[in-house]
């Protein structure tokens, strides 16, 4: 990926970052359920 302006770079890197953050928000509660659903 080639960038010509700082704006290009920020748009790309922040875009990916927000996608990862969204995935983490979905994944972490599910992982917590995986860890705890067999607890008494």
């Amino acid at each position: 990926m080639e960038f010509f302006t700082l704006h290009d770079f920020m748009t790309y890197s922040k875009g990916i970052t927000y996608l990862i953050m969204g995935a983490i928000l979905v994944f972490m509660p599910l992982y917590w359920l995986y860890l705890t659903d067999r607890d008494d």
């Binding site: 990916i16 990862i20 953050m21 705890t36």
Partner: protein
């Protein structure tokens, strides 16, 4: 020679004592050499690499792996998880010895031990992160010392002063958590001053966050790992309460460590995305980075998770050992291996055998002091006179 003398000699000349004795003697000789001939006589440090194994392992790993103290005491006293109470004393003792040995090891690097109080009492460099680290370690070592005194007071029979210290438990725990938050993260922040020297895969604007978050699962893993060793070698020193609570500690800490490690992987990915460092992953350094992140964080996190879910303590104990190795690898990557990565191989730092010897000496010293204390003081068992106090 009488029968008693022969028996006493046999008890003293155990394989552990012999090996530890040899290591301590060699360490004493290197120490003498270090403080009489200078740092250049025993290390491979130079102007390119002024910090080596002693900082990378003894300090960075020592502080991270001593995090079990604040993690366990805050779980028990701040979050009210009293089922982990039996793990508090061993964790506090390990943390105290860990930090004491960090300060001890620092003397080898800095030299001139009589100037140790200078940064705190004489010439404060308040704009330096190292000042903050030094101040926090000084204060936290004091806190850990006070927190570990009740065991010594119970051993010595000083009931009144023990009661006074016990009253301070919550305040000391909160102070300990605050200080740990500060200096664990500051050790990572130290490396934010070298963006051109540390490889971009390890360098990040979030280094302080990585260090703090990783210290949490480092501490939990160390508590499990140390508990495993104590169960193997010091089983006879544990009372029924300690033995009954041990499995709960392993399962609870394993579950928490797994969750925190998954979160850690998440923020590491965010760090890669923010700096757009994905293209480095296909290089040799990228492979090494993935060995650390996948092999020593994701793998033990999954193993911890499976162990916690299936109530399999063997999985958790293996994961704990693996995580401790991973923390050591991470701290060494940042401070030694991926540091000065651009230098030609002739200028790269490789520790001398005397640096390695000093590190082994310091770790052995910690194990010997731990064994000395645990075999005498009520660390792995409750003193019969104070059972109702807990």
């Amino acid at each position: 020679m009488t029968k008693e003398n022969i028996t006493a000699e046999k008890q003293f000349l155990t394989p552990f004592n012999v090996v530890a004795g040899i290591i301590l003697l060699v360490g004493a000789a290197i120490t003498l050499l270090r403080f009489t001939k200078g740092i250049g006589a025993v290390t491979n440090l130079d102007n390119n690499n002024p910090w080596g194994l002693w900082i990378g392992f003894d300090l960075m790993c020592g502080v991270a792996l001593a995090a079990g103290g604040y993690v366990t005491s805050s779980a028990c006293y701040v979050f009210g998880l009293k089922k982990y109470h039996s793990a508090v004393r061993p964790a506090i003792l390990t943390a105290f010895l860990g930090y004491a040995l960090v300060v001890f090891a620092l003397h080898y690097d800095v030299g001139r031990p009589w100037r140790l109080p200078y940064p705190i009492f004489y010439s404060q460099g308040t704009s330096s992160l190292l000042f903050e680290v030094g101040l926090c370690v000084f204060l936290y070592l004091t806190v850990l010392f006070v927190e570990s005194t009740p065991a010594a007071f119970e051993w010595l029979g000083f009931k009144k002063i023990r009661a006074w210290v016990i009253r301070l438990t919550l305040v000391l725990t909160i102070f300990g958590v605050v200080l740990s938050t500060l200096h664990q993260s500051s050790l990572g922040a130290l490396f934010q001053i070298v963006p051109s020297k540390l490889h971009p895969l390890w360098y990040s604007g979030y280094l302080h966050v990585y260090f703090f978050i990783s210290s949490m699962f480092a501490g939990m893993s160390m508590v499990i790992f140390e508990g495993t060793l104590a169960h193997k070698w010091l089983h006879h020193k544990m009372d029924e309460t300690h033995l009954a609570e041990a499995e709960g500690v392993v399962l609870g800490f394993g579950k928490a460590a797994s969750f925190v490690m998954m979160g850690y992987i998440g923020i590491k990915l965010i760090g890669l995305a923010v700096d757009n460092n994905w293209h480095y992953l296909t290089t040799g350094w990228g492979f090494w980075f993935l060995v650390e992140l996948v092999g020593f964080v994701l793998f033990p996190a999954i193993l911890y998770g499976m162990g916690a879910r299936e109530k399999n303590t063997t999985f958790i104990r293996i994961a704990a050992f693996w995580t401790v190795l991973g923390i050591i690898l991470n701290r060494l990557n940042i401070s030694v291996i991926a540091f000065n990565y651009h230098l030609p191989s002739a200028d790269r730092y490789v520790p001398s055998f005397m640096e390695v010897g000093t590190t082994i000496f310091i770790v052995t010293l910690g194990v010997v002091v731990y064994k000395f204390i645990v075999t005498r003081m009520p660390i792995l068992y409750e003193h019969p006179d104070y059972k109702e106090h807990h």
